[in-house]
């Protein structure tokens, strides 16, 4: 691990956290407005990627490598969730939209 963060790395970490937060908000908006179930599943997938990136950045920020295991778990759960949703969409037939709910 590096011997303390320099000003450069500190600034870059802040910028990275800001960009990831904006991305998280954008993904969450797409998750909420839909309009169809597959749209939401894609948004959920993206949110999982953003969370993985967040955990990785947090590892650099704190200097502890233990959280990388959490990133692996999030990646696994995201894949399983997307697969399950794909099967559900296929079985449920036509994707419902906001108008029908």
């Amino acid at each position: 691990m590096l011997n303390g963060e320099t000003v450069l790395l500190d600034t870059v970490l802040v910028i990275t956290f800001a960009a990831l937060s904006i991305s998280l908000v954008a993904g969450m908006i797409r998750l909420l407005i839909g309009p169809s179930l597959p749209d939401r599943v894609v948004a959920l997938d993206l949110i999982a990627y953003i969370v993985i990136a967040f955990i990785a950045t947090y590892c650099i920020h704190t200097g502890t490598s233990d959280f990388i295991d959490a990133a692996i778990v999030v990646a696994l759960i995201a894949f399983l969730g997307t697969t399950a949703f794909a099967r559900y969409v296929l079985k449920a037939g036509r994707p419902s939209t906001n108008d029908e709910i």
């Binding site: 691990m1 991305s23 993904g27 997938d45 993206l46 650099i60 692996i72 969409v89 036509r94």
Partner: protein, 134 residues
């Protein structure tokens, strides 16, 4: 110093690509385009940030876990996108009105799963009935 520059570069590149991916998911008009943004740019962004972590920790155990995560992401992202796109396409998602080429024929040219064929056969029958009544 040079290590920090490399880490900073990977972090900035990764967060840039993740940001592009999320803007794409928010703004693009149709599911296939959203998926294209999320899968490609999202995976690349997360992978670049993970590479930055791998460089910043000088331990072989961290590097192994990082490599495993990146390989897992690269393997599963296309599979997941393919599954959800296929399911959405066969259940009749609307494509963007500017779509020029739709290489798959939804009317059964390419084989499709039993469940969706049945459900569409039912809806087609209903449609034909409506047409013949009017």
């Amino acid at each position: 110093m040079i290590t920090e520059l490399i880490i900073a570069f990977f972090l900035l590149a990764g967060s840039f690509f993740v940001l592009i991916a999320s803007i794409g998911v928010l703004r693009l008009p149709d599911l296939m385009m959203k998926m294209h943004a999320s899968t490609k740019a999202g995976t690349l962004g997360a992978g670049l940030i993970l590479v930055a972590v791998g460089i910043s920790f000088d331990e072989i155990s961290v590097l192994t876990r990082i490599l495993a995560t990146i390989i897992f992401l690269l393997l599963t992202a296309p599979v997941a996108a393919h599954l959800i796109g296929r399911a959405a396409y066969y259940t009749g998602i609307e494509l963007w009105e500017g779509t020029i080429v739709d290489e798959m024929d939804r009317n059964g040219e390419i084989s499709e799963p039993e469940a969706s064929r049945k459900s569409r056969a039912a809806s087609d029958a209903k449609l034909n009935r409506n047409v013949s009544e009017s």
